[in-house]
């Protein structure tokens, strides 16, 4: 199954809950924000969203900036 993660095509074993996906990717849920198909999700919403074929997922975090 293909998804687009951070703008790059990425392979994914199967459909999965977003929260599980985030954890599986090794992200720390406390420090990232996630956009699913262009919609910004609160952390509470992650459990209720399923990652499906062709979904666009963006995971962002704060970095040093001016």
């Amino acid at each position: 199954m293909k998804i687009v993660l951070n703008g790059k095509e990425t392979c994914c074993r199967e459909e999965t809950e977003l929260l599980a996906f985030v954890l599986a990717c090794g992200f720390n849920p406390e420090r990232v924000v996630v956009q699913h198909n262009g919609r910004i999700l609160t952390r509470e919403e992650w459990a209720g969203v399923t990652v499906r074929e062709n979904d666009r997922i963006d995971v962002l975090q704060f970095v040093g900036g001016g």
Binding site: L5, G7, R31, V59, L60, Q61, F62, V63, G64, G65
Partner: protein, 255 residues
């Protein structure tokens, strides 16, 4: 405190705002913040890939600081708005520094798009501080749209060239009731002091501190200079004159 700057309802006693980009290591940041006493600290939002073992920026910023994400990377109002919303979803408050830039060489902002983004974000409850090209009329529009302050550039981002836009910035300070914060280009503490003497409400400094040989010491130097400039502004500088005027008495000479 008596001379606090109030933005978005929050009193800020330290008028040096700090950018966190370009430091050789995040480990420098806690020292930079504590030595400067900065209370407002900018960060950027970036995609992070799985396996990228980057440290959590926020661990290096004390709890009591105001985190002001910027919208760097946005080329249009719509992009800036989306980045701002994402940043707010991080849960660190609702301050946002709008940056809309389409010029990659001098990183000069797009005032027109910035006005649009300001309108949308202020309406959504953000505390909006737009980075802007110095322009009195554009600043008035941003404030009419709900900006909490305006942040004209002193010179292009990252150049350390100083307050090259003082003519236009001084007019903004004189004409606008809202805080004017000089952002970008200040290269030395004396530049920051000058901006404050002119009546700027605060300054935002990043490159000059991050590229100093000793960033922690330079942060303290900027902090002192900002206090000096603010204090001088309040103390009411004496007038300049063309002709000299002796500082010792002109009577009672021996010769």
């Amino acid at each position: 405190m008596m001379d606090d700057l109030v933005i978005g309802g929050q009193p800020i006693s330290n008028r040096l705002f700090l950018g966190t980009g370009k430091f050789s290591s995040y480990d420098l940041i806690p020292g930079v913040i504590s030595n400067s006493g900065a209370q407002v600290v900018t960060v950027a939002l970036r995609r992070v890939d799985p396996g990228m073992a980057s440290e959590n920026m926020l661990n290096f910023i004390p709890e009591n600081c105001i985190v002001m994400p910027n919208t760097s990377g946005a080329r249009t109002a719509a992009e800036a708005v989306q980045i701002a919303r994402l940043a707010r979803a991080m849960g660190c408050g609702n301050w946002i520094k709008i940056e809309v830039i389409s010029d990659n060489k001098y990183l000069l902002p797009d005032n027109e798009e910035t006005i649009l983004a300001t309108r949308t974000l202020a309406a959504e409850g953000f505390i909006v501080l737009p980075y802007m090209n110095p322009d009195l009329t554009a600043a008035r529009k941003m404030l009419d749209c709900g900006a909490a302050a305006v942040m004209p550039l002193g010179s292009p981002i990252g150049t350390n060239r100083g307050l090259k836009t003082r003519e236009l910035v001084q007019i903004m300070i004189d004409e606008l009731a809202a805080p004017v914060i000089v952002d970008a280009g200040l290269g030395k503490p004396s530049d920051a002091a000058e901006a404050m003497e002119m009546g700027a409400a605060a300054v935002l400094v990043n490159t000059a501190i991050a590229t100093a040989e000793d960033p922690v010491k330079m942060a303290e130097a900027f902090s002192l200079a900002v206090r000096a400039g603010r204090m001088a502004h309040l103390a009411g500088p004496g007038a300049q004159s063309a002709l000299a005027s002796a500082s010792s008495p002109l009577t009672g000479f021996l010769f």
